[in-house]
């Protein structure tokens, strides 16, 4: 079993161009590279990645919508020598689970949070997410997100960076090769910080939802490059290492 891989051979259900497929692979690559598969416990979200556990060959628990950081807190406090990470979308982490993520962060829980931000609720049919761009059309903002009605997109990574309990936050994007490489590096660093008991680490990954965000995959990636990363700048937001 030692040589087993973290990624199962189960065919993924994600739409073409969806960042989840790639992100699952990156996570599994890093876990294999660090040799931590047998001591990793993941917390799966509610959203498109709700059955992530079918694709991962390590211990996984489901969590109620938005509650991953609380569930991860419970696991990590009981088993501090295990590597515990949550995998959450923007609806899960930045809307219904805002309280849980902020407080797990400010408690400085020694967990890793993988925040996949695609700016929309994909699973339920493309509704506005807290991270949806101003002007972006969704099922619930059919003329585009209007701040006077719908408020502004939430910058969770910036918010968490100011908390003393937070040790590492980086935002990357999955729309091109350098972005994928950066994501790998960031994730590896986040896991290593947990392995060294440094504290709370989070990687926000800007990911495409070609199904609801754009007409084509290419257009979705272009939007990330030209619009989304202007509002959500890429790079390290906090690094205490």
């Amino acid at each position: 079993m030692v040589n087993e891989k973290s990624l199962t051979d189960r065919k993924m259900h994600y739409c073409p161009g969806c960042g989840h497929t790639l992100m699952h692979k990156i996570i599994c690559d890093i876990i294999d590279e660090l040799g931590i598969r047998e001591r990793t416990i993941a917390v799966a979200p509610v959203g498109c990645a709700v059955i992530a556990y079918d694709y991962w060959n390590f211990d996984v628990t489901e969590a109620a919508h938005g509650r991953c950081p609380a569930v991860a807190t419970g696991i990590k406090r009981v088993l501090p020598d295990k590597i515990v990470f949550t995998y959450q979308g923007d609806g899960d982490l930045a809307a219904i689970g805002t309280s849980e993520i902020i407080h797990a962060a400010t408690r400085g829980e020694n967990i890793t949070v993988i925040f996949v931000n695609n700016g929309v609720y994909g699973m339920t049919g493309g509704q506005m997410a807290p991270t949806t761009m101003v002007g972006q059309k969704t099922a619930t903002t059919q003329k585009g997100r209007k701040p006077e009605r719908d408020g502004f997109p939430l910058k969770i990574s910036e918010m968490l960076s100011v908390l003393p309990g937070v040790k590492y936050v980086e935002r990357t994007a999955l729309h091109n090769k350098p972005g994928v490489d950066k994501t790998r590096q960031a994730l590896k660093k986040a896991f290593m910080m947990q392995m060294d008991n440094k504290g709370f680490s989070m990687v926000e990954v800007i990911s495409a939802c070609p199904t609801y965000g754009a007409k084509t995959i290419k257009e979705a990636y272009k939007k990330i490059d030209e619009e989304i990363t202007k509002y959500y700048p890429l790079g390290v937001l906090k690094d205490t290492d």
């Binding site: 211990d59 609380a70 569930v71 807190t73 009981v78």
Partner: protein, 364 residues
């Protein structure tokens, strides 16, 4: 055994500690604050985990995680906070995870007040969260039982891999009484047994998944059938009740928790006056002791249900005793507590006049 003068809330916490509960997450709410403070102190002493959570919702989900990782875990609250925990309780039951949840009930609905109440009976026993699930609900009527039942709740939770609720109230939680608060300590102090589903890393074994989501056709129905089999076993094995001076009784008072304590005093008073009155006290509110109650019915027996609610448990009494004409109800609401003298008066009236009606009393 030496007795200690202690509050119900603290006795509850000590029962958990001695049952090897090593994970506690809670949030401040009256009238159970002594319990959270006690756990904060005791978890430090026992090298357990104490977390003051950001919300009741976070607390129950922390318990979910800790339980999945194999720890004996508990959260406690009072009525409004327990409402917030319902989502988590449903997930615990759906994922088949053990946990102990304590509700020190207060007056409702809404923010209500901080006085004792029994108005969360429906929520506790009929499934406050979504989906088909049940859990054993134990109702202590003394500080001693706060300790004993909490201690035993962890074994019941582990036995069935299911949440268990202690349904107490502000009176039992905050009063002090002498109680024996020492039980035999278990050998494994981390509370983890040989649970075959624990997530502790897949070293030397296949991966494990804790889930309640089953999308393929028929799979969730099968999962539910498995759950129902477990609930049937609980119905069979976990019925608890107490009968007090119930022999040859013309009237049986049915009450639990604080109401039962008060009713017991009324029974003593009435028996002094040669009134044939007894008490039936359900201890497990789920599973409800229907059969035991039915056995007390001669076909002429009258039943007076006393609750600190508008009438919730009375519905279970109606299920046990199908002749509604012989079931009477006396309830106090919004933090009101039944008076011993009122119950005495009421029983005397019922013995004399079938159609008697007093304040707060419904003739059913």
């Amino acid at each position: 055994m030496n007795k200690t003068l202690i509050t119900g809330n603290e006795a509850c916490g000590e029962g958990a500690i001695q049952a090897d509960c090593r994970f506690y997450a809670g949030y401040p709410i009256t009238p159970q604050n002594e319990l959270t403070a006690y756990m904060s102190k005791r978890m430090d002493e026992e090298n357990g985990v104490f977390i003051q959570a950001e919300s009741e919702i976070a607390a129950i989900n922390m318990v979910f995680g800790a339980s999945g990782a194999g720890a004996r875990a508990m959260t406690t609250s009072s009525s409004p906070g327990i409402s917030l925990k319902q989502e988590g309780i449903s997930y615990l039951a759906g994922c088949q995870l053990p946990a102990v949840i304590v509700n020190v009930m207060r007056g409702g609905p809404g923010l209500g007040n901080i006085a004792p109440s029994q108005a969360d009976y429906f929520q506790a026993t009929k499934g406050g969260g979504h989906g088909d699930y049940n859990m054993v609900v134990l109702a202590p009527a003394s500080v001693q039982e706060m300790f004993d039942f909490t201690y035993e709740a962890f074994d019941i939770a582990d036995k069935y891999s299911n949440p268990v609720m202690i349904l107490s109230d502000g009176m039992i939680g905050q009063m002090m009484e002498p109680a024996v608060i020492v039980r035999e300590r278990r050998t494994k102090d981390d509370g983890r047994g040989t649970k075959a589903w624990v997530l502790d890393g897949c070293k030397g074994r296949k991966k494990r998944v804790i889930r309640s989501l089953f999308l393929a056709e028929g799979v969730l129905e099968d999962w539910n059938k498995e759950l129902q089999k477990k609930f049937d076993k609980m119905r069979k094995n976990e019925v608890r009740f107490e009968k007090y001076r119930a022999e040859n009784a013309e009237i049986i008072i049915v009450a639990y928790g604080t109401s039962a304590r008060i009713a017991r005093a009324s029974v003593d008073e009435l028996r002094k006056n040669n009134k044939a009155v007894g008490l039936f006290r359900p201890i497990s509110l789920w599973p409800y002791p229907y059969d035991a109650l039915k056995k007390l019915d001669t076909g002429k027996t009258k039943f007076l249900v006393v609750e600190m609610s508008a009438g919730q448990m009375v519905e279970d009494v109606r299920l046990a005793i199908e002749d509604k004409k012989r079931i009477y109800f006396h309830g106090r609401m919004g933090g009101g507590v039944p008076e011993e003298a009122d119950i005495v008066k009421l029983v005397k009236k019922i013995l004399k006049d079938k159609k008697s009606k007093t304040k707060n009393q419904k003739h059913i």
